[in-house]
Point group: C2
Chain length 186, copies 2
């Protein structure tokens, strides 16, 4: 999916600044996708130049102006067209996997070269992290205003349920099988 389509999709949930879009990537989307500021800001500028979004500057006392972008009718159309195209090429491509870079799995893979004690800490920290993630995905209380819209998307309930189930499976597996990674001699 192009960065343009992705930004338009997020703006379809409501007007946002570039900073707030980044917060979505660092918050609820962090486990599925991310874009850096270096991609987000230029993308918003080009979307604005082509009238796919409009922009209102909210001057804030001495902080840089907050530029709040709103998706236009033209932008909504481009987004829907692109999403249909993306779904179609996803189907045609035959490539249904995700792109993953996992430092954790690389450390596991080469664990025989890493002291037992160190690997133990790696696994402990990963377990702690996953427990936190699980709580986050199950948490149903209030969230900051700019993250509220994405939270209330119906598809997000589906995704959160899936993520919770996957993390629970992962935690159970790791607790039952981590002894398999221990080396006899260091």
């Amino acid at each position: 999916m192009q960065k343009e389509t992705l930004c338009l999709g997020l703006l379809s949930l409501g007007p946002r600044s570039g900073y707030e879009i980044k917060q979505m990537f660092e918050g609820p989307l962090s486990d599925f996708y991310s874009l850096s500021f270096g991609t987000i800001y230029p993308t918003l500028n080009s979307l604005q130049a082509d009238k796919y979004v409009s922009c209102k500057q909210h001057s804030q006392s001495k902080k840089p102006d907050k530029k709040v972008y709103t998706i236009t009718k033209k932008g909504m159309e481009l987004m829907k067209d692109n999403l249909l195209g993306d779904a179609s090429s996803y189907i045609r491509s035959g490539n249904f996997g995700d792109q993953i870079k996992s430092e954790f799995f690389l450390l596991l893979l080469f664990s025989k070269y890493i002291p037992n004690e160190t690997m133990n800490t790696v696994l402990n920290e990963r377990v702690l992290y996953l427990r936190q993630k699980l709580e986050q995905f199950k948490y149903d209380g209030p969230v900051p205003g700019n993250l509220d819209a994405i939270r209330n998307e119906k598809s997000v309930s589906f995704i959160r349920g899936l993520a919770s189930a996957l993390i629970e499976t992962g935690l159970n597996y790791m607790e039952k099988n981590r002894h398999l990674l221990k080396k006899k001699i260091n």
Copy 2:
């Protein structure tokens, strides 16, 4: 983890060409990490220049020479040092998540803008793909020679078991809950 450490780690399983290292990334490692040719070949050249690997050219009738790289004692030491450093900074960083770019989850997220029929195909193809993956992870028969070493790593049994459990959970969840994604009206 630096590309150098990763290539050395894979060469520690046995001598390989750049092409064969790429095959490892496209095969058994594809769900955890990947590097492109544009990264692998220059990395091998620089590792060779610094004597972390040695290289034997196998001239093949009219195909480009196959350059088979072997990790040196110096290379083994660098790899172990780097792995210990990587594990330590993984622990210190506090960042235990994986880097993921999932076209599938983006399509789910924006599924309300995509026709039911199209999303149905997307989900069907993803399910088919996951079933294939599951078979691959559970398959215990023979594999091509250059992928044999990684297959026989003890840590890989752990990883394959984990992957299988996760995919099974994902498949079950999707089959039970995919109706939640349907829109009433298109």
